[in-house]
């Protein structure tokens, strides 16, 4: 980054540190903990003070940086259009990692990653089927048999030729990115690039919004460009329904859709999943906090939120919000959200579609 760019970035966070904190009403970690310190403007003030050498408690500061959900609610509601606080929090995490400080929860996840090449641990690789369309099985989808079975059914019924790959040491690298391990992340991104190039794919379908964010926006930022179309599963389903490649039986139950934060904020896909749910005949029952106002589920700790107490508080808050709708079925479009919100029998949207498919075209 040039000096001028550095100055511009410094001005942005200094501006945020003096703003009225108008985005905090949507910040899940602030709301779930009731702690002003975790509100975006206060995080910005502490980052600025840390840069100016005004803080004594470096460890306390770095711990706070790992308490953000990195969900982007603040940037979505920012009165300045050119700013994302997450970048500054991430820079602090990188510094924390480089200086050897990371919270225990994060450390465990990074150690697992270093040993097995993924955050789950020892697992078999998946490599089956063929075609120019690839289905990348994310770490959160791996092991979710209901989701994988439903996905297979959708592929089969629609007659789509798809090559499935994932598992083993194939991962987008998100856990390393959120831990601040940029060297490790770069290596993983290059490995992923080689993996995709070897498969000669034109298009990759992914269930996990975070994988998509990593493999598009974040890879680009570190100079790794994937020459392939990457799409989220809801985009594929919408395409298949639109082309009448799937026949389904309509349903009358009520559905609450939980907007995954990255899907709704970074990928701007709040409408598509609702269109799919409505097309299947379900009646949508919106929670108070949905679409632009959705709250992060907490995701798995050790990744975005590096503190299990904050993560648990965020998850508990989101569960309470969703339960209030009293819907018959809860659906989402992120396998990590599905796992974290399992208490309300959360389904992935592909499962909902697969249940309704009646015959092969």
């Amino acid at each position: 980054m040039s000096m001028a760019e550095n100055k511009k970035e410094a001005e942005k966070i200094a501006r945020c540190a003096m703003c009225a904190d108008m985005c905090k009403y949507s910040c899940p970690t602030y709301l779930a903990t009731g702690r002003e310190t975790l509100s975006p403007q206060k995080m910005a003030r502490l980052i600025v003070y840390n840069q100016k050498g005004l803080l004594e408690d470096e460890t306390g500061f770095l711990e706070l940086m790992f308490r953000s959900a990195m969900c982007g609610a603040c940037s979505r509601h920012c009165i300045y259009g050119d700013y994302d606080l997450r970048k500054f929090i991430h820079q602090a995490r990188v510094r924390a990692f480089d200086s050897g400080f990371i919270p225990d929860d994060v450390k465990k996840r990074v150690e697992t990653f270093r040993r097995f090449g993924n955050p789950n641990g020892d697992r078999a690789p998946i490599d089956r089927g063929a075609g120019h369309i690839g289905y990348f099985i994310s770490c959160s989808s791996y092991g979710d048999e209901d989701l994988l079975r439903a996905t297979e059914k959708v592929f089969w019924k629609s007659g789509l030729g798809v090559g499935r790959f994932g598992g083993g040491d194939m991962c987008c690298g998100a856990p390393l990115y959120y831990a601040g391990d940029m060297e490790g992340f770069k290596q993983v991104s290059l490995k992923m690039k080689a993996e995709i190039e070897a498969r000669q794919l034109h298009r990759i379908v992914i269930d996990c919004p975070t994988c998509i964010k990593m493999m598009t926006e974040i890879y680009r930022e570190i100079g790794v460009q994937l020459d392939v179309e990457i799409m989220h599963t809801v985009q594929l389903i919408e395409e298949l329904l639109g082309e009448a490649k799937l026949r389904y039986r309509k349903e009358k139950r009520t559905v609450t859709f939980h907007d995954p934060c990255i899907l709704s904020c970074d990928l701007a896909m709040s409408g598509l999943p609702r269109e799919i749910v409505a097309a299947l005949g379900f009646t949508l029952r919106e929670p108070v906090y949905s679409q632009d106002h959705t709250h992060c589920c907490g995701a798995s700790y050790g990744a975005k939120i590096g503190d299990h107490c904050v993560k648990d508080a965020v998850t508990s808050m989101r569960l309470d919000e969703l339960k209030q709708t009293g819907a018959d079925v809860y659906v989402t479009a992120c396998p990590a959200c599905k796992s974290v919100l399992s208490e309300i029998d959360m389904k992935y949207i592909t499962e909902l579609v697969a249940e309704r498919i009646v015959a092969k075209r």
């Binding site: 001005e11 200094a14 501006r15 945020c16 540190a17 003096m18 703003c19 009225a20 904190d21 108008m22 985005c23 905090k24 009403y25 949507s26 602030y30 709301l31 903990t33 009731g34 702690r35 002003e36 310190t37 509100s39 206060k42 003030r45 502490l46 003070y49 100016k52 050498g53 005004l54 803080l55 004594e56 408690d57 306390g60 500061f61 706070l64 509601h77 009165i79 300045y80 919106e286 929670p287 108070v288 906090y289 106002h293 107490c309």
Partner: protein, 476 residues
């Protein structure tokens, strides 16, 4: 601590107090960590925000305590009295007069964990909330159920219900829906001795002076509001937006007077002076622009809009359509320019006052002229909002790039307050007193008024436990 404080230092807390409070709220909700002390050191008092750029803060709290129930707050207050520890309540931290700054060794009583929507009584049109709920979330909860509180302040996204009550707040739609004192039917308040006052929600009562009014504007110095029942409104069926250009502020103010006299009740009425009109509506430029938003059932909103249109046209108003209302609705929460100006050494702030119609236009002229005359002034502009049949709130924004920031800030405030009092206005319409406005309070209330207010403070809080150094300097 490397940050500097310029008003007071955080105190050293008695170990017995720390031990007891930790037991009440749990270890994780009692903090003396540097990050927390800095985060609760300041609200949105603009001069304080300006100084905070360099790490200069008014005062650090001795600790931050975050209870999650009224009973915990009662226990904490009793404990604070026992150990003589002053307590400053903190809601959203959006106050602009320093009301939540923890002066004189105070601990912060953080109310943000008490933020639940409790119930909606759709038959009676009332809803109950815990006081720490953020305004925007209160509205989202109600909107999801088909209702609105009708209180939409510019701070909607960073202020709390408890803060609205404690500062006697007003929202942008107040001409129809009223101010916070018109909305609160009942409330729960922890008094400075730790006892609980429960004011049940009823439309009105006649049992002596209204006790709830003690806390509507009590600024956390007379009690801590922990929950409230407020009136709600069904979401409007129809919204009609209009705007008119008038030849002068005087004409515009008089037109609104006539409209309210005719019993029309637009939710939003705003008269922008030439400078603000140019900022908001570049296509209109330097003209006096007035926007009106009527809403409610279709029949009512249509009639309301018709009365407004007729009176505006009869008085030479030129319609500029609905676009200015739409632009204002889009921009109304955007205060992004202030931090940018402050980065370049600018001082920015707002002052809201009120006056009867007979004084309202002259007050604007005098106030703007006096504030513009202060050395270092860059811009002074204003608008009227929050109308009544009898008068209005005048809201002035000022900015300067002075050589001596504090001198400029003080002189501008002095000029504004002097012009207000000379024009028989009130020195505050809805921002409250905090610590910054205390210096002007006696000229507003008179010595007798101050004596009454101080007597109330002393009767409730002889020890001065709650929000020390705010509202009145009682009990010290």
């Amino acid at each position: 601590m490397k940050v500097k404080t310029y008003m007071s230092q955080g105190g050293i807390l008695p170990p017995g107090f720390i031990q007891k409070v930790r037991r009440i709220v749990g270890d994780e909700h009692f903090s003396q960590q540097e990050g927390d002390l800095i985060s609760y050191s300041l609200d949105y008092w603009m001069y304080g925000v300006f100084l905070s750029q360099k790490g200069d803060l008014p005062s650090l709290p001795s600790a931050v305590i975050a209870p999650d129930s009224t009973s915990q707050i009662q226990e904490i207050i009793r404990c604070a009295n026992e150990y003589e520890v002053p307590v400053t309540p903190f809601g959203g931290g959006s106050g602009v007069l320093g009301g939540a700054v923890p002066l004189k060794g105070s601990v912060i009583l953080n109310l943000q964990r008490m933020s639940k929507f409790l119930s909606l009584d759709a038959l009676s049109l009332v809803a109950e909330f815990e006081a720490g709920i953020m305004g925007a979330n209160l509205e989202l909860e109600l909107n999801n159920r088909g209702y609105s509180a009708g209180n939409i302040p510019q701070s909607l996204f960073c202020s709390t219900l408890g803060g609205w009550i404690s500062t006697r707040a007003a929202g942008q739609f107040s001409t129809k829906y009223g101010k916070i004192e018109d909305m609160v039917l009942g409330m729960e308040v922890v008094l400075p001795d730790g006892s609980l006052l429960n004011i049940k929600p009823v439309p009105r009562r006649s049992v002596g002076p209204s006790l709830k009014d003690l806390f509507l504007g009590g600024e956390g110095a007379l009690g801590i509001v922990t929950g409230a029942t407020i009136s709600v409104h069904p979401l409007p069926e129809l919204t009609v937006k209009q705007s008119f250009i008038f030849p002068s502020i005087e004409v515009a103010v008089d037109v609104v007077r006539q409209i309210l006299r005719a019993e029309a009740r637009p939710a939003v009425v705003r008269i922008f002076d030439e400078a603000e009109s140019e900022r908001y509506f570049p296509k209109i430029g330097r003209k006096v622009t007035t926007i009106f938003i009527s809403e409610g059932e279709s029949e009512y909103a249509t009639l309301d809009a018709r009365v407004i249109r007729r009176i505006s046209k009869e008085n030479g108003g030129r319609s500029s359509g609905k676009e200015p209302s739409d632009i204002w609705l889009q921009k109304r929460f955007d205060i992004g320019l202030a931090p940018v100006l402050m980065q370049y050494g600018g001082i920015v702030d707002t002052i809201e006052v009120s006056a009867l119609f007979k004084d309202a236009a002259k007050l604007y002229r005098d106030m703007v002229a006096a504030m513009k005359a202060v050395e270092g002034a860059l811009e002074v502009s204003g608008h009227y909002s929050h109308f009544y049949r009898e008068g209005a709130c005048l809201y002035i924004t000022f900015a300067g790039i002075p050589k001596d920031p504090l001198r400029y800030y003080q002189d501008t405030w002095d000029a504004a307050m002097k012009a207000t009092l000379q024009n028989h206005g009130s020195i505050s319409h809805h921002h409250g007193v905090g610590f910054w406005r205390i210096q002007y309070l006696e000229r507003e209330l008179g010595a007798t008024g101050i004596r009454v207010l101080r007597s109330i403070k002393n009767a409730l809080d002889a020890q001065g436990t709650l929000n020390r150094g705010k509202l009145v300097n009682g009990g010290e």
